[in-house]
Symmetry: C2
Subunit: 325 residues, 2 copies
Amino acid sequence: MLNYQQDSRFMAVALALSERGRGRTGNNPNVGCIIVKNGIIIGRGWTQPGGRPHAEAMALEQAGPAAAGADIYCTMEPCAHKSERGPTCTDLVIAAAPARVILATLDIDARTRRHGIDRLGEAGIAVSVGILEHQAQRVMAGFFTRMEKKRPHVTLKLALSLDGCIAMADGSSQWITGARARAHAHLERARCDAILVGSGTFEADQPRLTVRLPGLADRSPQPLVLGKTDVPDHWISIAEPTAISELDATNWLLVEGGAATAASFLQAGLVDRLLLYRAPLVIGGGLQAIGDIGLVNLDHGHDQWNRVDRRDLGKDVLEIYEHAA
Amino acid sequence: MLNYQQDSRFMAVALALSERGRGRTGNNPNVGCIIVKNGIIIGRGWTQPGGRPHAEAMALEQAGPAAAGADIYCTMEPCAHKSERGPTCTDLVIAAAPARVILATLDIDARTRRHGIDRLGEAGIAVSVGILEHQAQRVMAGFFTRMEKKRPHVTLKLALSLDGCIAMADGSSQWITGARARAHAHLERARCDAILVGSGTFEADQPRLTVRLPGLADRSPQPLVLGKTDVPDHWISIAEPTAISELDATNWLLVEGGAATAASFLQAGLVDRLLLYRAPLVIGGGLQAIGDIGLVNLDHGHDQWNRVDRRDLGKDVLEIYEHAA
């Protein structure tokens, strides 16, 4: 019997596992997968760092022979195209002989799209598609954006005062937001493959752009600078925002400022998501968050951004906006 | 029997009536009052335009002889000082012979403070003080501020983009916020005795500063301009923010901008409340909301503002902050 409520609950677990891979799965989508038998989760998997093993392979390895007759919840259609790196997940799933496969969304990669579910169906496995699809596309937005737009998914992060300043007039910005908001911002760094600042910010602040959270130091993203400047060995510099399309194995990019860099990404239409940390203080006459983006008419500014989340972080507020498709 | 929960519920009704008088009671507090007998409200009153009749007089008039033995809920201690404009409310209450008088807060006016409740007690009436006191002080903040600080209570209103702009670089600001937010801003005008803009805004926009809501046009506040400029006959111009202390019969003042005016009131420590309407659009390089306020250190900016309300108005967000005492 299909049970939408139960399926949603299990898919939410798979989505939570999917979150673990954000920013570290290379060119692969950060998939999550659980295997359920008689109401008990017997296998859990998520795409591992660098992209392998895939989520399904990890979950099936845990479940072993018990996967036969079980339900497999997966945030995306299992891969069906051959790779030098191992068998396809569709082959692995068929070999495990589950009763059902429940998917949040189809793959967007033409090499797998529909081939995975077609082969599962031919093997006599019941397939459902579309449970929590919208959430899945959000959690794996890096992969979807890269496939659709041939560039990473871009988040612009700003830490602001109530009057929209990112620093005092003299440039000082330590600290506008409190400890909880800053910790959350570091968590967002850990969820990205790469992080970028403008050359002005790089030269003025010499930021490390690392993840400074206990236990997550190894998840620091690849640091990038926009514009001409001397960068350390492991940093990458790009000449213009559109050059992000040439970045290898980068689904998720975080842009951290300053105002000119933020403006150049916005003006180029390259920002998918705004992460606004707003602190309850007034600076007055400080540095503006965002420079000229070429807006010629207020009307054109409307209906571009939808708020998808808002939460209090200590005394600060985090608001997340997504660009209207 | 005292019943805190029931008392709170009735006091909330009195506070709602108190709201009706905001911005139109002259030098008087905007008090609210209800009279309750056997669980039924038999009289309702609120300070009338210009300050008379007082809330208690109006409610007692409605209740008539039935007020004997009833409970009187009043947002503030009844006046006890003689006036040429009529008998004191304390005298009226004693004459009505209620069983109890429940007050949210004492009067702050030394001519009445404690004299009202002392006289009620001497007359054998049970008196409770402090039910919803904090809320009452907020609803009647105009009067309290004028008595304590010898100036009106000042609200600074701003309509902002996500990046803290109040207009595009060319000055155009119609419209940043949507219809619901703008209607709410007009309602706030109706709740103030006076409204102020800077001479720059006055000259650039020729604002009417009227209440443009159906049925509330007669509640347009007294228009003021800060700075030297030619103003229409019924307008008042003041030379500096501190001159608001000389305004007659003004408990509530709304400051609507622009950036230099906002900054001058903030720098003078004359802003009690921020009313921030924020629209989900990015302007980029527009006009900043607030000019230099003389902040020398980010630390000094913290712990100045407490958020006391937040609500969605269509796609926009209204946040209300109060200055830390």
